[in-house]
Point group: none
Chain length 211, copies 4
């Protein structure tokens, strides 16, 4: 049952690239692509520079592989969102909560966004891939629920039934955490509650009763 040293050489070999990618993630997050030294990535896992080059031919390839590495888990989460039940409001609420948990609060998703912003001009495909795999699914699923809710008469047919607007607080929170890390602690539950409250009610005092 002992886990340590139990790894066969084949397992070891399969593990190495993942170790490297994890270390690369940390270094690239901390310093960005240009300012990250391959040697620092190597140091992080106790190997030498040369070892990195055994697995990845260039620093750019390593970066791209790292991006792919941290992008993978996300797909699962979005798929999971398929089978939501209940009214449209309930489905929207559930979906947004899922997005908070799976995206905004997931460090990898967050840092991926940082890479898109800071390295997007060097790695053009980053932008398209991120949009296609993260943003677009998020928006289209949101928009789908909104449209269905409108058709069902549950939501107003209004300019506010716009996915970009509805998910904005989620992206905004990601950015805030990207910038401030743990230094500016936002009250997360109040934030989410405020978001949902706004979505479903707006801030104005209901006029209907009095009129």
């Amino acid at each position: 049952m002992a886990k340590k040293t139990k790894l066969t050489r084949a397992e070891q070999k399969a593990l190495r690239p993942i170790q490297i990618l994890d270390a690369a993630f940390d270094e690239f997050v901390a310093h960005g692509f240009s300012a990250t030294r391959v040697e620092d990535i190597a140091d992080r896992i106790g190997v030498t520079k040369g070892t990195i080059y055994v697995y990845f031919p260039t620093k750019e390839d390593l970066f791209s592989a790292m991006i792919r590495h941290i992008s993978l888990p996300l797909e699962d989460l979005l798929r999971e969102a398929g089978g939501l039940q209940g009214s449209h409001a309930e489905r929207l609420r559930s979906f947004l909560l899922l997005a908070y948990g799976g995206i905004a609060q997931d460090r990898r998703s967050r840092e991926l966004l940082r890479f898109v912003i800071s390295e997007g001009s060097r790695f053009r495909q980053l932008i398209d891939a991120h949009f296609a795999e993260v943003i677009e699914p998020l928006l289209s699923r949101t928009q789908m629920i909104l449209d269905e809710g409108v058709m069902a008469g549950e939501f107003r047919k209004s300019p506010a039934a716009n996915a970009d607007i509805i998910v904005a607080p989620i992206l905004s929170l990601m950015m805030d955490q990207l910038i401030h890390g743990d230094r500016r602690i936002v009250d997360l539950s109040a934030y989410v509650e405020g978001h949902l409250d706004l979505v479903f009610s707006g801030i104005s005092v209901p006029k209907a009763l009095g009129d």
Copy 2:
């Protein structure tokens, strides 16, 4: 009437640093701090490397000066927001529109946000300065209007009366434009309209009438 070569030396001297800072802005925006070559900044305005160093002792100093350079105009805009008139809803609407025009749609403000995200770990003070000079004023003014509106009975005393949430679509739009530039053209007026509609009404069909 000829403008060229008409500048006195004193004028030239006063102009040069601004030229440099503008060129630096463009290069740093395009490549980030580390990947920007001082020589490229110089080339952009037709001088040589050495000239840059006549005005700025190091690349880091140049970067910091550039940040200060692009941060200045913002202060005016926020001050301008002081004298808004009308109901609280009108004041909030006006303030948000002002923020769209002055911040989200201002290229410098937008790119400043990029620097905060991509170079914040290298230039720590960037984060604090940006928060203190841009984010915090934006949030506190918004919160003030919200609080007053609640006290005046114009807004619901609700979790949605939360500045972070209310301004999120503005920041989210900035980020979107930062990432996609002109490639993903969002319908700006629909976006703003959707934002304001959400803020003041939410998306739910009013229940009072039907009940």
Copy 3:
């Protein structure tokens, strides 16, 4: 029996720093600290600039290491001077001859003196280290023999029994060779003979006999 390429990697690695330090010595001697180019040091041993920096982080560190490198052998020689035999005059004579052979005629000791004079203001510790490790031992051992000789009645108790004065011709010769190299060939044996003759007899005609 072939010597070349016969070195193991470990031997190479142990040798390289010494090669570099020897080459650095030659270049620094020829041009001084500031005017020496790291690349020239590298060229001298057929490697590239980068290799130097594998072993020494900065030019200053290389210089300091070079100084330590050439300073080491001296310690042995001074220790050797401990077991001198004979009358005090004989011991003084032997010690001075030892100093001529081990210091004045040793190229490294000589050039070390040049570095002290020319780079002392940049490398303050050079001065103190040189004094503590070369000059002071030389002077204190000389003074010890002089003092003992005086107590033994072998030397006059006079102002001339002053180590600074007694060893001056040795230092003066070093300086001369530093300046003129091989261009002004001083008759070394006449010089040494003159020095010892002066020390033990002065230049005046003995008065006692004639009076």
Copy 4:
């Protein structure tokens, strides 16, 4: 009677090069030729770099001119030594004292020696000029007195009657002061007394009386 501002423009003009040379002396002394910046020399007298180049075409020319500048006064002193009176011992004593006062204790002569040692390989003529104008006259005059003293039966015809040896303590003192400046204060009068005592008597106890 006011000295200040009384200078005509012509006098001002004549003064400027001397100011520059004096400032250059201080900077070159402190940092050596290579590490001295022309701008620092200019700063020292409150002018700008360009001004230096009005008077001296290159840094090397400035250095050479500075050497000539500080070498001038020395010639006078040596000439002064011509008319010494008294016995040969008295003349030698007077000459050595003159050398102490005029050379060893003259800052310019001392620093000139530093330049010879540290910049001699870059400015070859420095070595020859220094030897011809300082060292050789010192040695030849000393040797002349020694030779005449031997011929007059006043000095022993011995290996010690060697100018190199006799003046060595003077040069050695210069070197010591060059290295230690004011940090190692040698008792100058004891030093000179010791030197002269050695020269005229050696350190051995006179044997003549007892034998």
